[in-house]
Symmetry: C2
Subunit: 905 residues, 2 copies
């Protein structure tokens, strides 16, 4: 131990801790300053930034022993408070800088240090600063953060007033379509929002820390598990193994298509017979402290018989490959597509045919917050599990039987969540903490480190696609033949659904009269497949959007004009055979055309012998909702003070569930003239909030939005007097009129059949992407200089939210195109190793043009937004690289060596 006197946020504190303890842990665990977040824990994300004696440091890698006695430390709590926001915090709110908010404290502290050094930075200096200091954001694409710093600097220089950075309610009181800050913004920018790791530190005395015993191989038989030595280690309450799990010890995928050859019960909570992938949990050590749990976990002896590991779909499909789940073939599901007439005859006769193979890989989600959760038994004897779940009721149903608890004895709560981007559509640790809590009957807390986050949460499932397009001489598409193989890792949950996405979205956006194809889901030993933003479409549309460029080249047509000729128009149907609900793609291409042409001219003008510039475009389409008649529920209660309380399970990845629900309810309740603050929200606790379904597939704004609207309409109808005015709460009570209403809504959609035909989504989102890139000829290094998205997401609820979603989605698309991968389990298990895009990898110049075509099935005309920007931006980048230098990369990521190989070829 060392004793130091530190001046923390201006307050002199005595600190006693081991010299090798990190400053971050000291601040968080010992001083409750949980505004300082720990993301990667490896100095790669800077969520833990603090200012130490006027110098910005990453506190997770700053050892207390290296901190000078008497040093001053400024954390986010010392920058400003909810009552007294710093200009940076005001600007962060104004510009929507806090989406999930997990990186916000680290960025704001960083910006404070920057402005102390340089009160008048340029935008590039801000970006350089964030790059050098490794401030990582996965939500915003950085642009809103730079906007915020520039504005805050103006206030600090006296050029603007603090009030100028505050949201003003418009005179008509309408927030729909505006930029109302999300309700959680103040808490996020002040570090006062407790995320899972923060709540875990704030659990009561006697709570247990969990450490996992995990597989370090990818496929093995378990011969024995010996926890006897570990059980005797100091502080250990229990070592939980599969024997302690009272239920079926399996997580079920629930939604299993009848033709699925598996039964969905393939994922163990704690491994019993086999290890199926690297990281699989074999035991949970529950101890009084984390260090004790980790020390004991190292003492659990697991005897394994290693088996051949099938690390990609082709390997698992080999004839001699053993069944990973004995009794179920490794290819366990097949999805066909058959639209219109047979394609073989058309291809035979078609004037122009193109064909290529494509691969979009195992993109890691890389939220800044690693996975975290805890569980306890409440006073009603219910098992309460808090996690980052974005599918609370869904996950309850997926894990209850495995744990051996009745559904009505299981409560699922979402903690404030530092980003998921879809990985939390799958349960991760929910069943683990549930099992540990049931076995110990004490609160248990589990916080993954970043290696665990990377290796033991789901990833985007790679698609191997072979695609053929047939067109006439004018470029009109005649037919498409597709073949896609989905590497879904060892666990089947939603694998069939994902495979269906290939049928729905390969070739989406175009009127293709004849389609034939087949996709398959393959069980492998690599990371299990979980949802990732735009689920299935980046893999599917990449193939058709790059192949469209190949077709254009073959035809000698401009890629934009080829697309313009083929996009949906009245009379078209999408690959599912469904008539699009709106036809805005031609208009969107019309809007883009002059920009595109100017960009091409500029690229040509600015290309040099060493740096080639190019422009690429792509079309992106995604459906809002789960396949078919997706439904949701919301509850609205009139409060005695005339305000309302809205109950939903609109889970929040960071995308802005609170803002979405607020905007929708506020608009629906306009006759009452409520102020935004009068709409209170209770969210994401299955004990009190109704089943609104999971927050995935850009469904929430549409489906839960409609349920909220329905609840609001029921309340308004009940409050409305014959004269058209509205009853007060007291009048409702006096007249014995109910004050609580359940709103429900089901999408007018039908699931696809075995040929992929149906009307699976009532609402779609449409986008046209344009990427402008520069390729360094000598290295193949690509930088994206500008991204443009013409987006039709229907009517916009909250522009701050949709802008932020789009910037962030584009950034992830750039990452997907150029750097991101999780193929090599060790090399790719850190943020930097996996190609996380920092500030300078994302262009400051990102342009969004909205085409707000109202959606008949959307609340107030709205569609969703979150998936659209990640449907196909990567194809635009890849097409731009080709345009720049002639290198066509069809297997992502387009690392410099791949681009370079294409240039040389």
């Amino acid at each position: 131990m060392v004793k130091k006197t530190l001046k923390i946020n201006g307050i002199t504190r005595t600190v006693i801790a081991p010299a090798d303890e990190s400053l971050a842990n000291v601040l968080r665990r010992q001083f409750g300053l949980t505004g300082t977040k720990i993301g990667c824990g490896q100095g790669q994300c800077a969520a833990c930034n603090v200012i130490l004696d006027d110098k910005l440091v990453r506190s997770c890698v700053t050892k207390l022993g290296k901190v000078a006695d008497g040093a001053s430390v400024v954390t986010i709590e010392g920058v400003g408070s909810p009552d007294n926001l710093h200009p940076l915090q005001l600007a962060w709110i104004l510009h929507g800088g806090a989406q999930c908010g997990f990186c916000s404290p680290g960025f704001i502290v960083s910006a404070k240090a920057l402005l102390a050094e340089n009160p008048s930075p340029s935008r590039d200096q801000v970006r350089d600063w964030f790059q050098v200091h490794r401030n990582a954001c996965r939500c915003t694409g950085y642009k809103p953060l730079v906007d915020a710093v520039m504005d805050a600097a103006k206030v600090m220089r006296g050029e603007l007033k603090a009030e100028d950075l505050m949201y003003k309610l418009p005179p008509d009181g309408v927030i729909w379509g505006g930029k109302h800050p999300r309700p959680s913004a103040v808490a996020k920018v002040t570090g006062t929002l407790d995320y899972g790791a923060d709540l875990g530190l704030k659990l009561p005395e006697g709570s247990l820390h969990c450490a996992l015993v995990q597989a370090k191989v990818s496929h093995a038989l378990i011969k024995s598990i010996d926890a006897s030595e570990a059980e005797k280690m100091p502080g250990v309450a229990k070592v939980v193994t599969h024997k302690d799990v009272k239920g079926k010890n399996r997580i079920t995928g629930l939604i299993t298509f009848p033709t699925n050859k598996g039964d969905g019960w393939d994922r163990p909570i704690l491994c019993d017979q086999k290890v199926y992938q690297y990281g699989d949990a074999i035991a949970i050590v529950c101890a009084d402290t984390l260090a004790q749990a980790q020390a004991a976990a190292a003492k659990v002896k697991v005897e394994l018989e290693e088996l051949p590991a099938y690390m990609s779909a082709p390997a698992a499909m080999a004839e001699d490959a053993m069944e990973i789940h004995p009794g179920t073939p490794n290819v366990y599901f097949v999805q066909k597509i058959a639209k219109g007439p047979e394609t073989a005859p058309i291809f035979e006769k078609a004037p122009v045919v193109v064909e290529d193979d494509f691969y979009v890989g195992r993109q890691p989600h890389m939220p800044i917050e690693p996975d975290v959760g805890f569980a306890y038994l409440d006073d009603q004897g219910r098992l309460c599990i808090h996690s980052k779940s974005i599918g609370l009721h869904l996950h309850a149903a997926m894990i209850a039987a495995g744990l051996g608890v009745e559904l009505d004895k299981l409560v699922m709560v979402q903690n404030p969540t530092g980003g998921t981007f879809g990985y939390k559509f799958s349960p991760t640790m929910e069943a683990l903490v549930g099992a540990a809590c049931l076995a110990t009957e004490r609160p248990v807390f589990l916080n993954y480190d970043y290696h665990q986050q990377m290796t033991y949460t789901g990833k985007r499932s790679p698609f191997f696609v072979n695609l053929r397009l047939a067109a006439d001489k004018d470029g009109k598409l005649l037919a498409m033949e597709s073949d896609w193989t989905v590497d879904h890792g060892p666990y089947s949950e939603f694998g069939d659904l994902l495979t269906l996405r290939g049928a729905q979205f390969i070739g989406a956006g175009y009127d293709i009269p004849a389609i034939r194809g087949e996709g398959r889901t393959v069980c492998t030993n690599h990371a299990w497949g979980s949802a990732f933003r735009a689920y299935g479409s980046p893999q599917s549309e990449f193939s058709s959007e790059v192949l469209m460029d190949e077709l254009a080249e073959k035809l000698g047509m401009d890629p934009l004009e080829l697309r313009y000729k083929n996009v949906y128009r009245p009379g078209s149907t999408n690959p599912s055979g469904q008539a699009p609900e709106v036809y805005t793609l031609p208009q969107m291409l019309d809007i883009l055309r002059p920009k595109y042409q100017a960009a091409l001219a500029q690229a040509k003008a600015q290309s040099t012998a060493t740096v080639k510039r190019g422009v690429g475009i792509s079309v992106g389409v995604y459906g809002c909702g789960l396949d078919g008649p997706d439904g949701s529920e919301a509850r609205l209660e009139l409060d005695p003070d005339g305000g309302v309380t809205l109950y939903t399970s609109w889970e929040d990845h960071g995308q802005g569930a609170d803002a979405g629900a607020l905007g929708t309810a506020h608009q629906a309740l306009r006759p009452l003239g409520l102020k935004p603050a009068q709409i209170r929200q209770v969210m994401n606790d299955t004990a009190v909030t109704p089943n609104s379904g999971p927050a995935g597939g850009s469904r929430s704004q549409v489906v839960t939005g409609q349920a909220i609207k329905a609840a609001c309409e029921l309340l308004l109808a009940a409050m409305r007097k014959p004269d058209g005015s509205y009853r007060s709460y007291q009048q409702m009570v006096d007249e014995k009129i109910p004050t609580v209403f359940d709103g429900k809504w089901t999408a007018p959609a039908t699931a696809c059949d075995e040929n992929g035909q149906g009307a699976p989504f009532a609402v779609y989102m449409y986008g046209v992407f344009m990427a402008q890139v520069a390729v360094e000829v000598a290295s193949g290094q690509t930088s994206v200089e500008k991204m443009t998205l013409v987006a039709d997401i229907g009517k916009v609820n909250n522009r701050l939210v949709t802008d932020g979603q789009i910037y962030g989605g584009l950034a992830q698309g750039i990452g997907l195109a150029l750097t991101e991968d999780f193929e090599d389990i060790q090399k790719h298990s850190t943020l930097r190793g996996a190609g996380f895009p920092y500030a300078k990898q994302i262009p400051d110049d990102m342009e969004i043009i909205y085409v707000e075509e109202p959606r008949p099935a959307g609340p107030f005309g709205a569609a969703g937004v979150g998936e659209l920007p990640l449907t196909c931006p990567h194809a635009a980048v890849i097409n731009a690289i080709y345009n720049a230098c002639g290198s066509r990369v069809t297997k992502l990521p387009a690392l410099p060596e791949k681009v370079l190989a294409g240039i040389r070829a």
Copy 2:
């Protein structure tokens, strides 16, 4: 567990905790809001006040289960912060409302709730509010707190500006003699000062909580200790017993007079052979959580053979009483006094003789903060013990051999301390946490509950005094004969020294030419005797000051005039035969006389048949220092920025060590023209601060003050250039002149001999007390309506500090006179049970008149202050009761039934 959403200081928080957990623990342990202090833990002190949904509650007795979901909680952290102080906090600083500061958050939160209900309260309404809400303060006598509330209310009503409540440095820059706020004030009033219990919560993960296995009988032989079952309990790291203590397992009193029949090694760290008093520690259970430690402590089996318990000195002196420490007689020390000629002949001939028996009992210190400490091994392998110790170097020497560590491997640190009033002159838990740390090699934390605080820390030792005075017909004292018996409990430390105090202070203030007497220290099984403010003098002087009134009555003289005739004048000597250093008592009585006469007239006028009013006076004298040539050290370092750093072990009970040291150094360094903030202090850590001796006996301002002054003078001399100007730091370095200086000082005093004769103190404090009381005739209930103290404490360093010390000392004197006791171990083991004085028991009207006679041996003429107000205020109260109703109470406390008995007699 229950889950609630609470709005804590405006921030929405998810709280998960057992329903029966206290709100205080939730706030402190789970949310790090350690500004909310836990004092008694029983709802009797209100240090834990918070505002719950606009209602003031004591959070230590508010169960989370009873807190409404969605409730708002305001803690001290939500009232204001160091950057942004609330008017109440400003006013608290301005009026010196925070002495130890432990009660300050609870009071400020309480006052905030009051002013929300009543923005314009009268002083009595403020006092009523504090009374009703049980806000307990042991330091201030409440008056400064009421002053602060009244001023803050003015600011809140707009009648004053916040700036009006801020200290302003005088134009001449001198702070000596002024009211500079103590450096710790801001931290205290904002709840940001970490006391021991707060630091304990902020220890690193892996620290152990201690629970004591304690004796529940007062005297017994230990037959066996069986910890085997406890060792197996969950979370238990170790059960530490005497067998685990590597050293002598004894705490030594160190200062043992040669004539002491004991050797000072009588107090076990952990009981081995015997239990000597209720609460004695037999084992320490160290576990990961407090609940685990407590559960396991209940499982330690201790087999005892109970022995007769000697609960007072007479019982232990009985002929058939066994030796409590076999081999040492229960009467283990005798102190004689023999001054001047034999007294027997004088008494035979004296015209007037009075005699009476007196008893001053086992006054409990009752700090609001219960005892607390922790220990750890530092990176240099040193055992570091943090506690409330007010004698760091002393305690190291007292416990090192018992623990079996070398002194250079033992570091003692004082935590910010919520009041001691002397009990921490004895080690309490230092050796316990030390032994536990050495046995477990992990940080260990021990926090007494209030029952432990009351029953297992030292108490004021009762004196049984028989006193005789002889005078001539005019009232001139001729001789005194004294006999005093000191019940020192089972442990001898400083018992001989205390007994000597009887010789030094019985009859102090008066020129008594002939004195004979004998006192003795008796070992008993009641609470061990530890220092208590004014150590020995309240017991000693009570007898002479009440007997002087009896003498006056017998002589038919006014009590003031009798005293006036006999107080020290040039040529007088004190009971030690020493010539007083100043002769201000006549002047002080002259000052008091008109007030006294007016008070008598008023009492007469305002007495009724049911309420009798009266006035009493007394003289109080106390020496500043330890007996004889007391010394101290201080270190001063010139800093590169031209400021200085002052290193002292001037321990702080709450009396204001930081302010005392600052004022002294600032005055000594006036030639440098430093601002107060340029004098930095490092205090109370034996690893870095020199041996300044213990903070007791009002010695620090004199002895350590002189050491500081000496260090300052050394620095000034080194910095002074031939032209009289001063070198800068850089010039000192350039000229290779040292920049660090050790100041040392030793008091010009000599210890007393076996007859109590010597010159034990170089500086004394003198006071004349006046009490004005009202006695309810029907019940005997006494209330003190005003206290006046004419005080000569030499030149005043910091008036805010000395006023505060005096108000608080007077309040403790009222408690000592009327209510306070720790005789009945069970009944008296709570604040209320022990007669703690709340706001309405202390008069709002307390007047201080300073006579600032410079002390030749004091720094800048200063004496001490802390002990003076508690030397003899109780005698004034008792004399006033007699004056009011004719009831003479000579055995304290003067409970209503005792007063009533006197009235009836």
